[in-house]
Structure formats: C-alpha cells, structure tokens
Amino acid sequence: MKPASILLAAAAAWAAATVSATAEDKVKVGLIVTLSGPAAVLGGQVRDGFNLAVKTLGGKLGGLNAEVIVVDDELKPDVAVTKVKGLLERDEVNFVVGPVFSNVLMAIHKPVTESNAFLISPNAGTSSFAGKQCNPNFFVTSYQNDQIHEVLGQYAQDKGYKSAFLLAPNYQAGKDAMAGFKHDFKGKILDEDYTPLGQLDFSAELAKIAADKPDAFFTFMPGGMGVNLVKQYRQAGLATIPFLSAFTADESTLPAEKDDALGFLGGADWAPDMDNPQSKAFVKAYEAAYKSVPGTYAMQAYDAALLIDSAIKGTGGKLSDKDALRAELKKANFTSLRGKFKFGVNNYPIQDFYLVKAAKRPDGKYETEIVQRVFEDYADRYAPECMMK
C-alpha cells in the first residue's frame, strides 16, 4: 500500500499547506517577475525597487500592513498563468504587480483582470492593451513599449540624420521596436535586420553596417545580447556611427559593458541623475541597500508601490470597495520619482521622455544620464482607440 499512502499523504499535506487565513487590516501584493535565466537581473530590479518602497513606507501601503509575495514566472507564459492563479486564489492578493516581459503579460492579463485584483505592470506595456483592448483593472507605471523607440526615432529625425541601419532580435518586441523608430524617423532605412533570439556573435551584422555606412545605427537588443552587441560594436571600430539604442545600454547591462558603452545613446522616461529630491533619495537608498545603480525597472516598480499606497489612502483603507480603489488608482495622486505623472484614458502613463547617454560616475559606477528632453507630456498613440472614459 506504499504508493497509495504516499500519494494521499502528499496530496493532503499539500492541500493543507495552501489554506490561507485572511486578515482584514492587511494588503497583499503579488509580485510576478522573471527571476530565473539571463533576464533575472531585470526581475530582481523590479522586486528590489518595490520592496524598497514598501520599506520606506514603513512596511505599509496606504496605512495597512503590506505583505509582498514574490513569484518567479521563469519567462514561461503557461507557468506564469498557473502561478498568478496561485496568487489570486491561494494567496488572495489585492494587487498583482508585474510582469517584466510582454509575452508573460499577454498570458496573465486575462486571469488577473477578470479576478478581484488589479494588475499593475511596472515594465511591460504592450500596444494590445493600450488601444481597443484597454481594461479598467489594468494599469501601467512604465510606458507603452513603442514610446521608447519613438524617442530615438524623433531624435534621429531632429538631428537630421539621412539614413539609418536598424537591428533587433526576431521576436514581437523587436518588430515593435522597429515600427516605433520608423514612426518618427523619415530618413532612409538602409537595412532592417533581425537576428535570431540569443545570438552571441554579431560579426556578420557589424560587417553589413560598415559596408552600408549609415548616418545612425538604431538597435533594440536587451540583456546579454545587448552586452555582446555593445562590446563587439566598439571593438569593430564602428563607434563613430552614433549608437541609438533602447534597453541595450541601461543600468542592467552597463556594469558588464563598462567603458565600451560610454557615450552610447538611449531613450527613457527617467535616469538616475534626474534632478528632483525624491529621485535622488531613491537612488541613494537603492544603492545603499542593493549595491547597484537602479534602472528604470526599479524606478517604475517603486512608483507602482507609491501608486498603490496613494490609492489605498484615497479610499481610507477600504480594500473591498473595488470601484473606489479603481477611481483612486486612476487619479495617480502620488509624487512620482519622475516628477510629472498622470494616466491617460487607457491607464498608460502620460509623461516626459528623454534622450539619455551611458556615462561613468566619479565613483566608477556606470549609469545613464539625461541629455535632453525629447517628448513632453507624451501619450501613446493607441490611446484614441480606447473606449474607456
């Protein structure tokens, strides 16, 4: 009878372990981010930024004791669905904050928005939920993905570049990046090159760039792929061609790219050298706690916590009144680390965007620094299709 008893005991123990007790004066937040594989550094930033905010607020959000449950989506959409259902049904969270990646967002959007919790994305902002499929229970504290690429397209256009070479990985986000850049750049596109996901050696593409001699080079190459591209670009002597990038030379990759990335340009809604008191305090606290320079991922997660805090305070701590909470969330009545912040009709932010460049601080650490503002109070271009009020 060994097998049967083992099975039944395991099932019983497991089910028992999942019985959760709910407390009335507590707010539960489920944080679902990628914490495994090469992209784990981004999920780590989101987790750390959010936790830092909660800590700074005294372990409370909106005056209620906050419990943050961190879950790893492993960058696998179907695993993410199961885990987010765990957060919703087993842990009964009031808010789901996450994810980092667009494909995980596509998977968890429906389960969360159809449940009792609100979904707040601190990074992924796909176009699909910014337009016709906008949802009142879904909020984004980062930006709509295209906007970052549009910053660089607009900058290239303003600078008068006549031709550009584009490079991105061959997946949906890469294609969106190309589309975003081309939206504002009216010059000639010499080549639109897509590389296989995870490619390590860019020699072939770099040779093409050298042969084409574009006025500017635009790329979206996140994570380790970006580190490789930046290093190899510099080593190939191509740095005389302006390097315009999205998510390629930012705080998550600069520690590895080091001097190779200096001067490379990027687009962002914030940089660690932003000149306002709350941002400076955040950067200082983050570095003290986590020994690394925060990037936009951490900043947006911190803002997500501030958003939740302000919303709960606005309803006087009444978590059960979903409509009131929703209205309060929409108000975005908090002081963002970016300074200005408000939601558009589709719950995506309307904010300023900047051109940033990779730089080395006097203390030897690397960060992005603001060069100039490119867009002011910029809403995404899918908002008109959203039918929400």
Binding site: K2, L7, A10, W14, D78, V81, T82, N103, P196
Partner: protein, 315 residues
C-alpha cells in the same frame, strides 16, 4: 498483464480522481488549475514513455507535439472551429504529418544521432512559430475562451476541465497498455531489445518505429490542445528544447517503461517544483541534486523503487 501489476496504476488514478475533493480544503480553484496542468503534462510524459520505453527512441523534441496541438487549437478557433473534439482531430492529423515527415529523416539515425535529430526538428518548429507574427510570434496568442464540448461551453468550470484531462489521461493509459500487449507492441519491444535478431526474424524496424512515433506524437498533440485550453494562451515557448528536456526528465524520473511511472514522475516533478517554490525562490538548487540522486541510485526511477514488480518490461 495481470491485475496485480496494475495495482499501482489503479491506485494512482483513484488518487487523481479523488484529488478535487481533497482540494476543497485548500484554494480549490488554484489547485484544480495546477492539477489540470499536471495531468496534461503527465499525458505528454506518458506518450514519451511509450516512445522511449517501448521503442527505445529517446526524443529530445517531444515538446514540439505539445506546440502542434496547442497551435492547432489556435488555428481552428481562428477558422471558427470551436469544438474541442474537432480541434483534437486536427491536432492529431497535424502531429501525424509532422511525425511522418520528421520520422522519415530521424529514424535513419540511431543512438545519440537520433536524439539530436529530434532536437533539430523541434528547434526548427520552435523558430518557425517565433517568426509567425500573425499568431503573435514570441508574444503568443490569447484565446478568447476555452473550447466548447459537444456544442456547449462546458469547460469553463475548472472542475469539469480537470475531469476531462483525467479522462484523457486514463484513456491514453488504457490504450497504450493495450498496444503494449498487442502484437504490434511485442514486435516493437523485440526490435528494442535486439534489432538484429528482430530483423533476422523478418521484422523491419522502420515501420514499427514510425508507427510508434505517430502514436506518441498524436497523444502529445492532444495534450497540447488541452494545454492551450488550460492557460487560454499559446506561445512558442511551449515547444522549446528546455520543455522537451523537462518531459524527458519527468519520464526518466518516473521510471521508463512502466507507463504509470511517467504519470507519477510528472506529478512528483511538478508538485515538487510548486511546493519548493512556496519555501524558496531557489528551487533548482534543490531539484538539481535530487535528480542526480535519483539517476544514480534509482535504477528504475520512482516506479522501480516503489513497485518493482509492476514497473514494466523495460530492462
């Protein structure tokens, strides 16, 4: 097979059937979701066990069939076909076609060459779907709702869906057990044990092996169709080589050849992952050594350890 050697399988299925009632004491909806996903992957592992245990065909591309089944549901629903049975039939047909085409190339090789060949085809399919923007590419495709069953949206209930998955698993188990005991199964087994002798007796390995690939692929495609319904979302990640590796691990963990061992292996692997993730976010640090220990000490996997007499005919 005698009744005695079927005891562990019967107990296993009984436990699975009773699970939803035990789950009432916990977070029922979440546990049923987890349970359904476990059953679906167990179905895929079961089909792989048939391939590996009976056919000695170690496939490192089996997750491709999960993807085929899942995307069959997507394409069918895009064409307006919402009935699960119709979708499953399309999935089976697509899987059979894929198995036939790739089997024709892969089965020319043996040993590690065969393993790598299956990996190659799995990767090709993965990259193909990543590049298809119309289906969402890497971002995946969200289904508007679960499939209908006999015209009615019966699958929206987690309870009903769980039992559907269990029924599919039980059906597949019975079918494969029958096949193993049939003439075809015994020929396949003979080819596995000694291809030269089998050939000498007049049995050509190729048709039997191809048939085994078709059967296993078809069952895994059904699992894929169920997986699409379970998460109401389909992505190429379903067929990455890491997924194929996980299926292989579940099968080996359970003990190759016993069929019910694969189901057990899938359950233990997924339950362990889930349970450990509640304790720590470093689950792999614990699961890794566990797999090593099972590999070294458990010669016949968990099935061999728990119920040696019933763990099948694999040597």
């Amino acid at each position: 097979m005698t009744m005695r050697s079927q005891t562990p399988a019967i107990l296993l299925f009984a436990g699975l059937a009773l699970f939803p009632f035990v789950a009432r004491f916990g977070a029922q909806a979440y546990l049923l979701t987890l349970g359904a996903r476990t059953l679906i992957l167990a179905l895929a592992a079961l089909s792989l066990d048939f391939l590996v245990g009976q056919g000695a065909l170690i496939s490192f591309g089996h997750a491709a069939y999960l993807g085929i089944g899942a995307y069959a549901v997507v394409l069918a629903s895009m064409a307006g076909i919402n009935d699960l049975l119709a979708q499953a039939l399309i999935a089976v047909a697509a899987a059979a076609l894929f198995a036939a085409l790739t089997g024709y190339v892969s089965l020319r090789a043996t040993g590690v060459y065969y393993i790598m060949s299956t990996l190659a085809f799995g990767q090709m399919l993965y990259f193909l779907f990543v590049s298809l923007s119309a289906l969402g590419g890497d971002d995946g495709y969200t289904l508007s709702s679960r499939s209908r069953l006999f015209g009615e949206p019966r699958l929206t209930s987690d309870f009903a869906f769980y039992y559907l998955c269990l029924a599919a698993l039980a059906l597949a188990y019975v079918m494969l057990t029958r096949i193993c005991g049939s003439r075809f199964g015994r020929v396949l087994n003979a080819i596995r044990q000694n291809p030269l002798r089998a050939r000498a007796l007049g049995f050509r390995p190729f048709p039997s092996r191809l048939a085994a690939c078709l059967i296993a692929g078809a069952i895994a495609a059904v699992a894929g169709a169920l997986l699409a319904n379970q998460s109401e979302f389909v992505a190429p990640a379903f067929m990455s080589w890491q997924r194929s590796g996980e299926l292989l691990v579940m099968t080996i963990l359970g003990g190759v050849g016993s069929l019910w061992g694969a189901v057990l292996g899938a359950i233990i692997y997924l339950a362990l992952e889930e349970a450990l993730s509640l304790l720590t976010d470093q689950t792999h640090v614990l699961i890794g050594p566990l797999l090593i220990v099972v590999a070294i000490f458990g010669r016949r996997g968990l099935a061999g350890a728990l119920a040696p007499k019933a763990s099948g005919s694999a040597a």
